[in-house]
């Protein structure tokens, strides 16, 4: 029996290493678009968001947007690195945006209740501005925080594997934290 040819042996594909800098640019452009819309259409853009919150569609829309952007970013990073997506990262990206957006929606509800319970002037406009701020912060959190969690988990995993196979050369090649 002949030995298997080394050249034909398939090299294992490395897994996707998420870098926050890749995600940061996309979120930055999204932020600038949001800011541009706020400046260009100060009333109509705000009214669309406020009315969709009143109709109960805002949270679902934010979840869909955050999930879609997260998935596109992860696939793009995997494609660019020619790396294999991991189940853990995919699970995080499927689960965390929903948790973050849902949590922030309940936080918004609390802020609105707090505003309405106070005897404040110009109440409607105040509530509208709170909704606008939470929409923006919720979107950014829903996209950025899952990648931050994945990054920290990957770093933890790399540190653990470095400890297990302790050698100076492997320690030197450890992953960065950003």
């Amino acid at each position: 029996m002949s030995a298997p040819a080394p050249a034909l042996a398939k090299a294992p594909r490395r897994t996707v290493t998420v870098r926050l800098a890749d995600v940061a640019v996309t979120v930055a452009y999204l932020s600038l678009i949001f800011g541009f819309l706020l400046v260009s259409f100060p009333v109509s853009f705000a009214r669309i968001i406020q009315n969709s919150w009143l109709n109960g569609n805002l949270t679902v829309a934010m979840m869909v947007i955050a999930l879609s952007i997260d998935a596109c970013l992860y696939v793009r990073i995997a494609y660019r690195l020619s790396a294999k997506p991991t189940v853990l990262a995919a699970a995080c990206l499927g689960f965390l945006p929903i948790v973050v957006v849902a949590g922030l929606s309940s936080c918004l509800q609390g802020a609105v209740n707090y505003t309405v319970s106070g005897d404040l002037p110009n109440l409607q406009a105040r509530v509208g501005e709170e909704i606008l701020a939470h929409t923006y912060l919720g979107l950014v959190s829903g996209i950025f925080l899952p990648f931050l969690v994945i990054r920290l988990l990957q770093q933890l995993k790399a540190a653990r594997s470095n400890r297990e196979t302790e050698s100076p050369s492997q320690t030197a090649a450890s992953v960065s934290s950003y």
Binding site: A24, S31, F34, G35, L54, A125, V127, E129, A133, Y178
Partner: protein, 156 residues
């Protein structure tokens, strides 16, 4: 509840006064990026050196991340002074603090790698610090626009 009238913000035309915050934040970029770069050129000219560093070379250890951190801190201060509800202020502050810390971490890690003789990649440090500083900058711009709108609502 309907948001049809919208009180003091009841104008359809663009609210370009919010752009003033862009100019204010641009001061950080001028003082933290342009001035050090111009100073390095002036130093080279004064000492008759051929040194012509580009911003990329000047900030190759991730110093732009520190600029992002400082910018984040100043916007957190503005946010905490506002009359937004505590939940909104806390959320915005935490988000700015996390992104600013991650931007600052680029410089810290590059410094640690350099000091301990580990392999470091200036190209990557520059790119990561630039991207994260841009992220903090965009967050700061939008939060300042939101603060400006909210100040108009509370003043009316």
């Amino acid at each position: 509840m309907r948001f049809g009238g919208f009180g003091a913000l009841g104008k359809i035309m663009a609210d370009w006064m919010s752009i003033k915050w862009l100019l204010w934040i641009s001061l950080y970029l001028i003082l933290a990026v342009f001035v050090p770069w111009a100073t390095s050129l002036a130093w080279a000219h004064q000492h008759g050196s051929d040194l012509r560093p580009r911003p990329k070379q000047l900030f190759e250890r991730g110093e732009l991340g520190l600029v992002g951190l400082v910018l984040g801190i100043s916007v957190i201060w503005d946010l905490l002074q506002s009359q937004y509800m505590p939940q909104t202020r806390a959320l915005g502050s935490v988000l700015l603090a996390v992104s600013g810390t991650m931007a600052g971490a680029v410089w810290i890690e590059t410094y640690c790698r350099h000091s301990t003789g580990m392999r470091s990649n200036p190209e990557r440090a520059w790119r990561d610090s630039r991207n994260l500083a841009f992220f903090v900058f965009s967050l700061a711009v939008v939060i300042e626009i939101l603060l400006d709108r909210f100040a108009k609502v509370t003043a009316s």
